[in-house]
Symmetry: D2
Subunit: 477 residues, 4 copies
């Protein structure tokens, strides 16, 4: 007959295939540290409320502490037949300390237990991912500082558009990552309420002190409805959505690294340490890390969909479907965390080719806007100025010239307002410096943003230079 | 030759199918109010900086104001050939006020313009959805107050589990909705920075005062990187993810309404005003509104995926792919907003069958936990108490009895700790009242949560009773 | 210095984190049997074309055969540093047989190699899943035969609608599964072309005989474009889409098992061997297997999205992103396969409660359509007949009667066409038997469909009775 | 009181917001032609079976025929209050022809009616999309023929890899599209069974001849289970999955057009008729059509997810959730159809820059594989040959030379097997021609594939040259 925790009214053991199908310990054993901390807090609270004797509490706490160490060191033997992490821990505890172990589950259900574990785990994972984002930000901050003088074409529609600084481009990535960080922080804050004491769905008749266990576990308070506390996983959807947003950002950074690594662009050379070759083609040096980061975006979006589909249409409160919350959450964190780290290393060690970028500025008429702005500043309505510039681009293109190579006469043939100072406006260095609005590419603006980023990191306790060094940031271009 | 805003260097008109494929005015005209407010703020700021004359500003502002009224009243004639909302408005303006209209676009690009429009629109849509959530919360708050005394079985795994209050269940829905509201607020706050002044991708050479236009438009500040400001749509992903979370919540509420409306449950009777019949089966009264709410969840999840797929792997900054951000965002808001409203009406007018719910409590051994808790409270280790209760359930089931119908002798046959007071513990009313933890179903706890909800709504300026009345809340059961 | 297969032009080893990030052997070692069969076929073909000596071929084939056995028996030692399954196998081979091993990769690239492996693996996985579908069909076929006489209410909108046979309902599930099977077969057929010989992207200069290796590997022919053959994974999208369709079907079957297991419906009692209990509530017997099947649907839909996102916007031909094709494909098959099997066991051992189903037919006016059809058959236009029946439902409902309890007088009060034979029409047994169209619930029709299903299974070599027995089908209700 | 088709037992009208929420006529009126054909077939069959008089049938058929013309010409007035397309048509018919109209719904339900409509519509949409695929294939076929002599670098990992023909690359796109076509054909075939006669869920008591109406509607037969026929939409999932696969293919083609249009690649110049400019930057010529095609992929993947989420966990048979099947299906077809057409026009009018492609072959060591193959052909084990070639790439790179610029002495310094004929092998023209395997880039192979494609199109009745001409295919490069 069954040794399961719930075996009382059952006459037959679980079918072997069903047991394998429903066992979760391979996945949820990752929750063991949180599970044990939760159990310790629960036991202490039961002791404080007189539900457990001081002696029982002491036995439970020391028993669980020992188990935690064994798990951490890899000595603990997991029993797949014991269903899940909770039962593995509790059964081992009871085997060792006897009746006191069997009292631990008083006033608790696996439903509020696992909800507590998941909130603790996810909260901590959010903070850990924020630290990895900070590391990538640190690398980008240092590299932006290094390349403050490098100009490159900015693109829209993958067409050369206007000149910017490489640093400005790297800072755009930083803005994206800062918001990702903000979303993870918000998610961590919103989930930070203790479900312990919600029982299976309707709280419990035991006189628990929910605030005590919440406080011991670092929660900001307790949840306000027992049915909701055990029956919802929206905090996981929110978290994985934040990770999906981040993964999409990483895919965009990766796309640019792949593009810039191509022979056609040639803007960057990834280090040998972050590229691989081909088994057939001896010349290949492929930006595999960036490609993998880009490709793995699919996983995280898939994880998000997985959670949403699982939850759709479920009645309250707990349903076993929810066991399927763990694989996508673990996978999304693992994927994004590894991607952040490998990108930090890739970018720290990449060599940017300033000359190639500068050369690209000379082609593609990225100075055409300057012509239009020049006229508009002289009072020509912008729409007309834009048309004049468009025609001059065509003239130059047909003549195989750049705009700066057109004579003043040729310019004046399209509009009389052109004067000799127009050639100054066409210089990319000047063009960039004239874009001196907040958020613009002028040196002063970019420099201020780099400082602000460094200060923000500092305020979070992050020494950007030290971290960049740890990632092997190179000091040459 | 082309009359497009960008026609200068083009020799050939856009292909008719390509024009139809790329035209967006049918969709983006919805942004017109925001677009015009943005243009007015931009013009005023250009005036303040001396880029436009006071007279030009005045002409632009009054011209745009007139267009806005025409659009609102439906008199404005949209021209699909004019590509999008921006060009429709600007072309009409210029036709009417001449050169001043052609100066409006100075120091601006459609790239920062549409980014501004979308942030304004979405910020306001978030607040509007929050108001709709508040309306549904108001209805639930009033109905929870009405049914404070009604007991029902709480379920896990769709099996009767333990007794709760109907109000407790309705409040669980409220908790879900409150978090959805919080996420929309967070999204609105995070996106509330002005991209105006970012130009096409690299700011502009004109001496804009970004802070001024930001302030006039109600933004909390300005964006910090021009490439990022025109090239990212993560704020839409965040918003639609919040809506998807909400839609999944609504699907769960809808699922319960469908279940409860079934002949098998019979817990609720939806009003004729929110049900429909069958073209073939005369007896049918179908909970179509709830089914549609549940089914429409797919749209919102689809909208979220749509955005994520669109953005995946895009290089910076603006790419035309991003035109596809609008349909999913509009659809997600429309769907969730309508679902919230139709649920508010459905729930306001539904009749709950307290007797049927109470009857359900008498079957299914929902009092078995009381037996186990009873023993545990007498010092029997919980795991043993649970086994005893399980065996007694089996005994009762085999004998066709409820647990309360077992004699004290029968109870004692399983464990000697049972005494006569056990029968009191089995009374559902008692069982619920003993669950008097925060977040639990006891009357005092539920009552406190109802008050807290009412107060929160009040603090947001929402009179829950008045709103429930507007939704036709019924006062009988 | 690097020992990688592609190390020639590299000066620096791969970064450790990058190596961990990009290593795939933990996942792709599952392709080992296919990889080795592919290599053997390639080697033999190279021998036949004179590119390899007979001796080299012999050494390669026996070396690979030995490795295959070691892998199967679990003795093979995988080296994560060797990147992937291909290099693990080849490196081991070369270590053992020397230069002949280093010749194996002649005229081949990992790009066409892995494309071949994935096609072989997926083709076989499709067939294996079809066999599992056949097993579930077998169980359903036997149970449908057993319960041919059991009537139950059919539902629409989760409202009782019209009477059907339980067998008819079980056969509806079979129809769904048959189409899933058809889609997997189509996918397997469409992918069954050999990419071997496509090289890295542009075929090879060696005089391969692509048809020979294709034939040896059971392919129907060879692919027609080398860039496409190494650069597309649409066959995986197609396959996983078929699995997602199937998973959604299984979620619907599971939903019905969960509903029917509730105390409210009570139509089925799942066996102890396929249910679990609660750690807190002793009375619970939860349909966890069905819930898990339903919940795991999210995984498969997530897997599908994962693949689509990964492929979106990738230029030809091979990109490293494609390494991410394996996890979702393996996961989707594992999930659906296990779900099929656990459902087969669950349904084989479930007890259907014919009395409870029959009782449900007596409530809910499921005979109202009979009234309308009765009148329509007497020449009353259907729309009028439907209205009359609707009003009679209301009359009966208000009087607390069933339709059959209304007197002839009461019926005639609504329409004069009613005569005494109307009561016969209201008998569910009669009502069902009168629905004797193909695909309808009449006994003859259902019986014919059961036979047809049994015959189809037979034609595929499946003995449905034997398989149902193996799944422990019960012979009582 | 309600005038709805199902009003009999209802006392209250539908709430206005609920009516708006549930009305579908704006969307489903697109089914009108199919709905009317279905009704005509149903009426004729009822006539043949004696259920309707010949006169009634005649009135119905001519009434419906008239309505169909009015709908086609846009004269028909839709009434949103009449819920859906079915009721709009039937109510109008009955208003015009009286009682006969009210008899049309005999033996039918909206459930089997809409299932029939959707199958008819989708089947036809599949064929129409196949025709659009054929048009794009025609353009590609003609362009491939035109550019048979043009060489370009083939890429993997977006790195130049080996030389191929432009035609070979265009044919890779054709392979992808051919499979998409095959999937749509399979979907159309599998869904081609008539659900008519399945009634609401349990067939009907009227003596219908299901085969007759099926035949008249072009179905291959009838469905085999009434519950399944009205309660499943897997055929839509299959179809939209095929469209999603196609959309992803189009996103890949679009990505390459965007890349090739960049100044960095410069492989193609899109026609003015398929590009647009910038409102700020006069020089821009943006590949917007390709970008939009790429961006719209998100919609189609979103549509697929939408359907899967909607269906997940629905019990049989019909549920109102299924009303939500139409928007994603219509949107997916519209999106893919328009994308196919705009791509056909874009590619027909694009100018390929053969010189630029050829120049790209001279850089990036795309001939390194030739060196390795040269050695392998001389008996050097491939792995060693690959290493030698890798080292020579490094030597050349460090010396700023191409491989062909290395002296024989330099080559021999790495391996003694090199002889003077090695330089011939390095010529791209020779390298491509030596890849003369089926599916390879040699002229003979590519030419054969072009012919085979042209023949396949011909066999489907498609004159590829005529269609390409209609799309304005240019005849110069």
């Amino acid at each position: 007959m069954s040794e399961k925790s719930w075996g009382g009214r059952f006459e037959q053991d679980l079918d072997a295939q069903a047991a394998a199908f429903s066992a979760s310990v391979d996945v949820d054993k990752r929750l063991a540290p949180q599970d044990i901390r939760g159990s310790i807090a629960h036991a202490r609270m039961l002791g404080a409320r007189g539900v457990l004797s001081a002696q029982d509490v002491e036995r439970i706490v020391s028993g669980l502490t020992a188990i935690a160490s064994e798990i951490e060191s890899g000595q603990f033997v997991w029993d797949p037949a014991a269903e899940d992490v909770h039962m593995n821990v509790e059964a081992t505890l009871t085997k060792r300390i006897g009746e006191a172990g069997a009292r631990l589950h008083t006033g608790r259900s696996r439903n509020d237990q696992v909800a507590t574990d998941m909130r603790l785990w996810t909260r901590e994972a959010c903070y850990a991912s924020c630290a990895r984002i900070d590391a990538l930000l640190s690398v980008l901050c240092v590299r932006a500082q290094q390349h403050l003088s490098v100009l490159m074409p900015g693109y829209t529609h993958m067409q050369r558009a206007q000149p910017v600084r490489l640093s400005h481009h790297l800072l755009a990535w930083c803005e994206m990552l800062e918001r990702d960080r903000g979303r993870l922080q918000d998610a961590a804050r919103r989930m930070n309420l203790s479900p312990l004491g919600s029982g299976a769905l309707a709280a419990t008749t035991f006189p628990l002190d929910r605030a005590q266990s919440a406080k011991e576990l670092g929660f900001d308070g307790v949840t306000h409805n027992s049915l909701d506390a055990v029956g919802d996983r929206d905090f996981l959807v929110e978290t994985v959505a934040a990770l999906a947003n981040c993964a999409v950002h990483l895919s965009r950074i990766a796309e640019e690294l792949v593009l810039w690594s191509s022979q056609e662009f040639g803007f960057v050379q990834m280090s040998d340490a972050f590229t691989t070759g081909s088994s057939m083609m001896p010349q290949k040096k492929n930006p595999d890390m960036a490609e993998l980061v880009r490709g793995k975006t699919g996983r995280v979006v898939g994880d998000l969909v997985s959670l949403l589909v699982m939850l759709k249409g479920l009645p309250l409160a707990y349903n076993r479907d929810m066991q399927e919350d763990k694989p996508p959450v673990f996978d999304a964190f693992d994927t994004v965390d590894a991607s952040l780290t490998v990108l930090a290393g890739s970018i720290a060690s990449a060599r940017f080719d300033a000359a190639r970028m500068r050369r690209a500025l000379g082609e593609g008429f990225v100075d055409a806007t300057e012509l239009a702005d020049y006229l508009a500043a002289k009072g020509v309505p912008f729409r007309s100025a834009h048309h004049v510039a468009g025609r001059l681009v065509k003239t130059a293109f047909d003549a195989g010239k750049t705009l700066a190579q057109l004579s003043l006469q040729e310019l004046r043939a399209e509009h009389a307002a052109f004067e000799a100072d127009v050639y100054l406006a066409l210089d990319p260095e000047v063009a960039v410096e004239r874009r001196a609005l907040p958020g613009g590419p002028a040196r002063s603006m970019v420099s201020a943003e780099i400082s602000a980023l460094r200060d923000r990191l500092q305020a979070r306790g992050v020494d950007s230079q030290a971290i960049a060094t740890r990632f092997g940031v190179i000091t040459e271009p």
